[in-house]
Amino acid sequence: MKDNIIYVLKIAMLTFIISIATDRLLYYGLNFISDKVYSGQSIGKLNQFLESKDSLSTVFLGSSRTSRHFDAKKIASNSFNMGMDGVKLAYSTALLQTLPLQTKQNVIFQIDPGYAIDSTYDGSDIKALGTKYLRNDIITDNINSLDQGNAFQRLYRTVGYNNLILGVVNNYLKGDREYINAAGYEPNQIDSLQQKNLRIEIARDNNLIEDCGQQMDITPIYKKLILEIKKFCEENNKNLIFITTPRFKDECKDDNDALSRFMTKSKLRYIDDTDYFQRSNNNEYWKDLGHMSSLGAEQYTPRVKNLVNSLNK
């Protein structure tokens, strides 16, 4: 039996040594390549932001409702829209903290009340910063503080490039810098298929029976993140506005009210524009119920421009 145990241990040791060595080689190679990538949202846009963040006057942070709704260039000069698909507050909070200390900047933070009351939210969207985990101290600290670090990634670093490697290589070879021209703004173009789908969504939404009038509260994790954002901005000369951008329709306002109450209590400036288009709505302003089309964003731009101008006064 002793021989067999040695045999099993030998395979385990060999696998461990070869796999760790190969992982590190691949990891440093991928870091080298990915740091030169400036196209593709997950890596390219993030690199573009990290490269230019220190000299920006205005930064837009949030989810796809940020990247699709704020035409950064038209709103403010020297600005960047760092909206990212599929992320919530944790991801953007970590990026906010990478901004230069004690430098005056405007921060427009898009926030969704629906997520703020979601008790299942655990901050796991921050994992989208996995390529910078263990490479950027601020990002690493943020990931660890939310307990979203991957124990396996400490051993096998390539986990950070999970599902990204093909895009990284492709974008490296392409060599574009697609986020410079539009300053991170990613407008939604509409077509007939999308408009058809929007009509289906509207019909479905009309059939939903919502249980409104409930007392709701912001989740502890959202409260913690919002207060962290506030603290960082107050200590580092950032003009901060939280804003909820328009939705096609929002019947229930319980979540909006809960978020407003918390913002007021925390002495934070919060603009709820959910119903911005309520009086002059048009299907062509929308890609789906939560995202404006480029036309909708164009209509919304003057409103945000005024807000940013008010910060600069």
């Binding site: 039996m1 040594i17 796999s19 999970n162 093909l166």
Partner: protein
């Protein structure tokens, strides 16, 4: 506990070390297997352990009673006890709501409303699998093909053995119980082969199947948003998702069992290379199809009572096979499609003038036609409701082809890469006629180290967030 979790990896490493350090103590080894199996199952929901133990006690007693009697009526009586208790439990937990709902719908046509009759029943994981295992034990004893065991611990270990407990393969008592009752020695070739097959299984599940799910799920959840092109792609992707998901699970189960010194039967044999549905069922979920053949189809008379009865038997077997998967009309229709095509193939291939279809290039055409039929049937298997299934079919055949849904470009690229990887490995095994079960047996430690390195890196770079195995719901 699920295979694709860190908890399981740690659990298995501990069990493996303790188990093999007691190599010459069969009773204690079996006890370790039993305890670890109960922990494995109880990790999901300990309350249902009682159900497995109850089922096992019944069949352990029934097996002895059948074997101990020479009177046909007494033997039949005890067999009926086994059938009613096992199928009764299965019927209650799995089919109660389906049958009551269907009944209410049916009588509703005549204007009668019996009121609220459904219950909030949780389906115990693996009940369909271990019910078929326990039944095989009593039926084999009844048929005098197998003698019962006198050791309840060994019998319970057979039923609850963790590699195959929740989603098969459905191992017959005649295959597995003697292995449990025989002293086992650590075998390096088995260990190597088991390790390699487990690695392949993890890639099939975590990398290929789970990534395909990222495209398939949003399309099948909202079919009305998509055109024919997207629905065709999602259906083909689902065909591969369920194959890699379930065959991946089977590979892990077979590989783990092999590392512990047990040989399970093959459960998948490259089914999408089948040239007919008949062949497909010899390659797909083999442990279920042979179970249904041996215990249902043959019991109904098989092909011994004339061609019409054979057609009937085929249809019944496939309808029951469909119902075994789940309590909904979708699964019954899925089984019905396969049954109908099996009957048609029996008819066609029994006529000599159709023998031309067995030759090239028709057999390649056979692969495509078989895959097409299988894909059509998968629509019923995957669609959330019967209405959705018909809607998807109608939409596909409206030929509204256009630009397909792309989803996240990184996900799509990974999906295509993963599918390509699976296709390459399967084609290699098919061309070389190498069963995966023995592929790694002769690998040197360096080769194994390199293979596992590749497995770890592929998983690191391409894993998808773990979904439960599709067959856990059955």
């Amino acid at each position: 506990m699920i295979f694709n979790s860190l908890v399981f990896v740690i659990f298995f490493a501990i069990v493996f070390l303790i188990y093999w350090s007691l190599q010459n103590r069969l009773t204690i080894q079996n006890l370790i297997l039993l305890v670890s199996s109960l922990v494995f199952y109880g990790w999901w929901d300990w309350r249902f352990l009682g159900l497995i133990i109850l089922s096992s006690i019944i069949d352990f007693v029934v097996g002895k009673q059948i074997h101990g009697s020479n009177h046909d009526s007494i033997r039949k009586y005890w067999l009926l006890v086994s059938l009613t208790s096992n199928l009764g439990l299965l019927a209650f937990f799995k089919y109660y709501n389906f049958f009551t709902d269907s009944f209410v719908d049916m009588v509703g046509v005549f204007g009668w409303n019996p009121g609220y009759v459904t219950l909030n029943i949780i389906l115990p994981v693996g009940i369909s699998f271990y019910t078929f295992q326990t039944l095989s034990y009593t039926i084999d004893i009844y048929r005098r093909q197998f003698e019962p065991t006198n050791n309840f611990t060994n019998f319970l270990t057979y039923i609850a053995f963790f590699p195959q407990l929740v989603a098969g393969p459905i191992e017959r008592a005649a295959d597995l119980l003697p292995q449990i009752e025989t002293r086992r020695k650590f075998n390096r070739e088995w260990f190597n082969a088991g390790l390699i097959q487990t690695g392949v299984g993890f890639i099939r599940k975590i990398v290929i199947a789970d990534n395909l799910a990222k495209y398939v799920d949003p399309v099948f959840e909202n079919p009305e948003f998509h055109n024919s092109t997207t629905l065709v792609i999602a259906t083909i992707f689902y065909a591969f998702q369920i194959y890699f998901d379930f065959s991946g699970y089977s590979d892990i189960a077979i590989g783990i069992a092999k590392m512990l010194g047990f040989k399970f039967n093959r459960n998948f044999n490259l089914p999408y290379f089948s040239k007919s549905i008949t062949e497909f069922w010899r390659r797909w979920h083999i442990s279920l199809s042979t179970w249904l053949r041996d215990y249902l189809y043959i019991s109904l008379g098989g092909n011994r009572k004339g061609i019409k009865i054979q057609y009937r038997n085929l249809m019944i077997t496939m309808l029951v096979g469909g119902l075994w998967h789940g309590s909904s009309w979708n699964f019954i229709i899925w089984g019905g499609i396969h049954g109908m095509v099996l009957v048609m193939e029996k008819f066609i291939f029994s006529r000599n003038f159709f023998s031309v279809f067995r030759r090239r290039p028709f057999n390649y055409l056979g692969i495509l036609i078989t895959f097409f039929i299988v894909c059509i049937s998968w629509i019923f298997f995957r669609a959330p409701t019967l209405e959705d299934a018909f809607f998807i079919l109608k939409k596909i055949f409206s030929f509204d082809f256009g630009r397909p849904f792309m989803n996240d470009i990184n996900i799509l690229a990974t999906v295509l890469f993963a599918l390509f990887l699976g296709f390459i490995v399967d084609t290699y095994l098919y061309k070389k006629k190498i069963p995966l079960e023995v592929w790694g047996a002769k690998f040197s430690p360096i080769q194994i180290g390199l293979f596992l390195t590749a497995t770890i890196l592929i998983i690191s770079l391409f894993f998808s967030n773990s979904n439960n195995f599709i067959y856990f719901q059955f």
